[in-house]
Amino acid sequence: MLFFKRQLPLAIAFFFGLVGFFAQYIPHHSFEMLYNELISWVRLLYAFALILGTYSLLRLHSKRIERKDAGYGYSLVLWAGFIVTFAAGMYNEGRGFLAGQADTGMLMWIYDYIFKPAGATMFSVLAFFIASAAYRTFRARTPAAAMLLISAIIVMIGRIPIGDMISEHLPTLASWLMEVPNAAVKRGIFLGVALGVVATSLRIIFGIERAYLGGD
C-alpha cells in the first residue's frame, strides 16, 4: 500500500517532471508528439477536478442537513439550487446534454438573472471594503508606510481622468511610478519567485519535497 502512496507518486513526479523540463529544450517532432499527448491527458484532470469539487461540496452540505447544524437551511438552498440548475443543464431545452448548449431556456435564465447579477454584486463589495480599509487600516506608521500611501494617492488620482484636470503632471508621475519603481520591484520579486519556483519544482521532481503527498 505504501508503494501506491509513496514510491509510485514519486516515480510519476520524477518521470513526468523530467519530460516537462526537457520538452522546453527538445524541439524534435517525435518528442513533441509525446508532449502533445501528455498535455491532452493533463487537460482531462481539470475536468475530473470539477466532479471531485461538486461531490465534496454536496457531501459537506448533506451532512449539515443530516445533523441539522446551525444554518442548515442554507445547505438546503444550495441543494435545491444545484438540482434545479443541473436538471436545466441536462435537459438543455429538449436537446439533451450531448448537444451544443442552447441559447435560451431555464439554464440561461438562471445564468442571466441570478448568477450574473450575484457575481457582479460580490465583486462590487470589494469597493466598500477597500474604502473601509483605506480609512481604518492604511496608516503611515513608518516612513515606508508613508511612502506607500503617498504613492498610492498619486497613482489613484493620476490614473483617472480627474488627474488630468487637476494637473497635467499627475498622470505623468503616476505613469512613472508604475513604469519605473513598480516595474523594478516587480522584477526583483519575480526573479526571486522564479528561482523559488524552479528550486521547489526541482525538489518535487527529485523527491526531496514530499509534503504534497500528505506528509513525509
Binding site: 517532432h29 457575481g119 480599509a133 506607500l148 520579486i189 518535487i204 504534497y212
Partner: protein, 496 residues
C-alpha cells in the same frame, strides 16, 4: 570660251531645266502637296507592344534547414539584387518534385525580410544581415487540422486525378485505336477537371515533412514583369536540442546542480545551515498559543490557485507544520479550500500531521472542507465563517486575487492575529496593511525549510540563494559592460 566655263554653263542650264521640271510637276495642281506615299483609309493598325523585359533572376540562392525546430521549417537566403526597387515583390514556391506542381508558399515585399529579421538563424555579428534577404518557410506541422485541410484542397484532388488519368492512359496504351476512343471522353473530362482545379485559388500552405527532400524557387515580380525562377533543394530536419535556449538551459542546470550538490552534502554531513529570521514564521507559535488561551479556533485559508501552483505546494507544506504545532495544544483548527484537489491533499496532510503527533482523534473531515470554486463565493463564505466563529488566529498562505482584502479586512475587524504569505505581487500591499505579519514572495517557499529545519531543505535554499547571487553579479556586470559599449553581453542572455 575655255572648256571649264563652258562645262559650268551646261551644268547650270541642266540644273535650271530640272528644277523647272520638278517645280512644274509640284505646282501642276491646286492645293497642298500630294503625299509621296499614298496611305490607305480605314485600315486597322495593329500596335504590337513589345513584351515587358523580364527582371533579372536572384543569384546565389541558398537554402538551409531552419535551426532549433521540429523539422517543419527551412530558410532561403539570397543577396539583394542590384536592380531591386521597393515596389518589387518576391514569390516563393515549393514542390516535392523538380518538375512540379509548384505551390506558392510565401510572398513578401522587397523592402522586408532580411537576415536581420531571423536572429535565431543568423548571429547578430554577421556582416550581411541587411544586405541579404532571408525568409523562413515554416510549414504547418503534420496536425490533424492540416491534414484535413490538405485532403479537401485542390492540390490533393489534382494529384489524385492525375494518378487516375495516368492509370487509364497506361492501361489503354497497347490497345487498338477503336478501343482507345471509348475512353477518349473520360480522358478529356479528367484533363479538363485537372485544368480547372489548377486554375482555382491555390492552397497557400503546404505540408513540409521532416527528412524529405523539397524544392523551392524564388521569383521576382514587379507588376507584370517576372524574373525567371531560380530553384534550390533542401531537407528540413528536426533538431534534438534548441540552441536558442542554451543560456536558459545552462542556468537551469547550474541551479539544479547547486541544489543537488548542497542537498547531497547535507545528507552526508548534516550541518547547521544559517537561515535568517522570518518574523512571520516565528510568530506562528505565538498565534497558536493565543488562540488556545482565548479558547477560539484557528483558521487556515488556502489561496485560489490549484495544486499545480508552487505557492499552493508551499502552503500545503506550511499547513503540515502548523497542524503539528496545533496538535500539541489541541486547539480547534479549520482549513478552508477553494480547489477540490487541494482539498484532498490538505485532508491527507492534516490527517498525517495529527497522526505523527499521536493525536489522530483530533482530525475531523468537516474541519478541512471545500467552500466554493468561485472566487467571491469562496471569499464571502470564509468571511461569514470568520464573523460567526471569530477565530483568534488566521493564516493566509497561497496565491490570492482581489478577494484578499475582503478576507483580511474582516479578520482585522474581528481583532484576529493574521499571518499571511503570498507570491501574489498585486495583493502584497493589502496583506501588509491589514495583517500582522506578511511573508513575501520566496519567503513563502522557504517556509517549509524554515519550519522543519530539515537539513536537505535548508541546503536547497542555500543553493538557490547562491544562484541568485550569481545572477545579481551577472546583471551588474551586464549593466556595466553594455553601458561601456560591449555589445556581445547583450546577446548572451537573448531569448528566442
Amino acid at each position: 570660251m575655255s572648256r571649264k566655263p563652258r562645262n559650268t554653263l551646261i551644268s547650270a542650264i541642266l540644273v535650271t531645266l530640272l528644277s523647272a521640271l520638278l517645280s512644274q510637276s509640284a505646282f501642276s495642281q491646286d492645293g497642298p502637296l500630294p503625299q509621296l506615299m499614298p496611305y490607305p483609309v480605314n485600315t486597322q493598325i495593329e500596335v504590337v507592344t513589345p513584351p515587358p523585359s523580364p527582371l533579372l533572376p536572384v543569384e546565389k540562392l541558398e537554402a538551409y534547414d531552419s535551426p532549433d525546430d521540429s523539422g517543419n521549417a527551412i530558410i532561403l537566403a539570397w543577396p539583394i539584387p542590384g536592380d531591386e526597387k521597393p515596389e518589387q515583390k518576391y514569390i516563393i514556391e515549393a514542390a516535392s518534385d523538380q518538375s512540379g506542381p509548384w505551390r506558392q508558399v510565401a510572398t513578401f515585399n522587397a523592402s522586408t525580410s532580411f537576415k536581420a529579421d531571423l536572429p535565431r538563424a543568423f548571429t547578430w555579428n554577421s556582416t550581411d544581415l541587411k544586405t541579404m534577404h532571408a525568409i523562413e518557410i515554416n510549414m504547418a506541422p503534420p496536425t490533424k487540422a492540416f491534414r484535413d485541410m490538405l485532403d479537401e484542397s485542390n492540390y490533393n484532388k489534382t494529384l489524385k486525378l492525375k494518378e487516375t488519368l495516368k492509370q487509364i492512359e497506361d492501361s489503354i496504351k497497347d490497345m487498338a485505336q477503336a478501343e482507345k476512343d471509348v475512353f477518349a471522353d473520360q480522358i478529356a473530362e479528367l484533363k479538363q477537371e485537372i485544368i480547372d482545379l489548377e486554375n482555382a485559388a491555390p492552397v497557400t500552405v503546404t505540408l513540409l515533412d521532416p527528412d524529405h527532400y523539397y524544392h523551392f524557387r524564388v521569383i521576382r515580380s514587379e507588376g507584370e514583369r517576372l524574373s525567371p525562377p531560380v530553384s534550390v533543394g533542401v531537407i528540413p530536419r528536426g533538431n534534438w536540442f534548441d540552441f536558442g535556449k542554451l543560456n536558459n538551459f545552462v542556468i537551469a542546470i547550474m541551479l539544479a546542480g547547486l541544489i543537488l550538490f548542497y542537498v547531497y552534502r547535507a545528507r552526508k554531513k548534516p550541518e547547521n545551515i544559517f537561515i535568517r529570521r522570518i518574523p512571520g514564521l516565528e510568530a506562528v507559535e505565538d498565534a497558536i498559543g493565543r488562540a488556545t488561551e482565548m479558547g477560539k479556533p484557528i483558521f487556515f485559508v488556502h489561496g485560489l490557485a490549484d495544486m499545480s501552483s508552487i505557492s499552493t505546494v508551499a502552503s500545503v507544506n506550511i499547513l503540515g507544520k502548523i497542524t503539528e504545532r496545533v496538535a500539541e495544544y489541541g486547539t480547534a483548527f479549520k482549513v478552508t479550500n477553494k480547489d477540490p484537489v487541494v482539498l484532498a491533499v490538505s485532508q491527507e496532510t492534516v490527517k498525517e500531521a495529527y497522526l505523527r503527533m499521536g493525536r489522530p482523534d483530533l482530525y475531523r473531515d468537516d474541519d478541512v472542507f471545500f467552500v466554493s470554486q468561485d472566487q467571491f463565493s469562496y471569499a464571502t463564505g470564509v468571511e461569514g465563517m470568520i464573523l460567526r466563529e471569530q477565530p483568534a488566529s488566521i493564516f493566509y498562505f497561497g496565491y490570492y486575487f482581489a478577494e484578499a482584502l475582503l478576507l483580511t479586512e474582516t479578520g482585522a475587524h474581528m481583532g484576529a492575529i493574521q499571518i499571511a504569505g503570498t507570491d501574489s505581487y498585486t495583493q502584497l500591499p493589502f496583506f501588509i496593511t491589514t495583517c500582522d505579519y506578511t511573508l513575501m514572495g520566496e519567503e513563502l517557499y522557504a517556509a517549509s525549510a524554515y519550519l522543519s529545519r530539515d537539513p536537505k531543505l535548508l541546503a536547497s535554499l542555500k543553493g538557490q540563494d547562491l544562484m541568485k547571487g550569481l545572477i545579481i553579479i551577472f546583471i551588474l556586470a551586464g549593466i556595466i559592460l553594455s553601458t561601456a559599449g560591449v555589445e556581445w553581453i547583450m546577446h548572451v542572455m537573448e531569448s528566442f
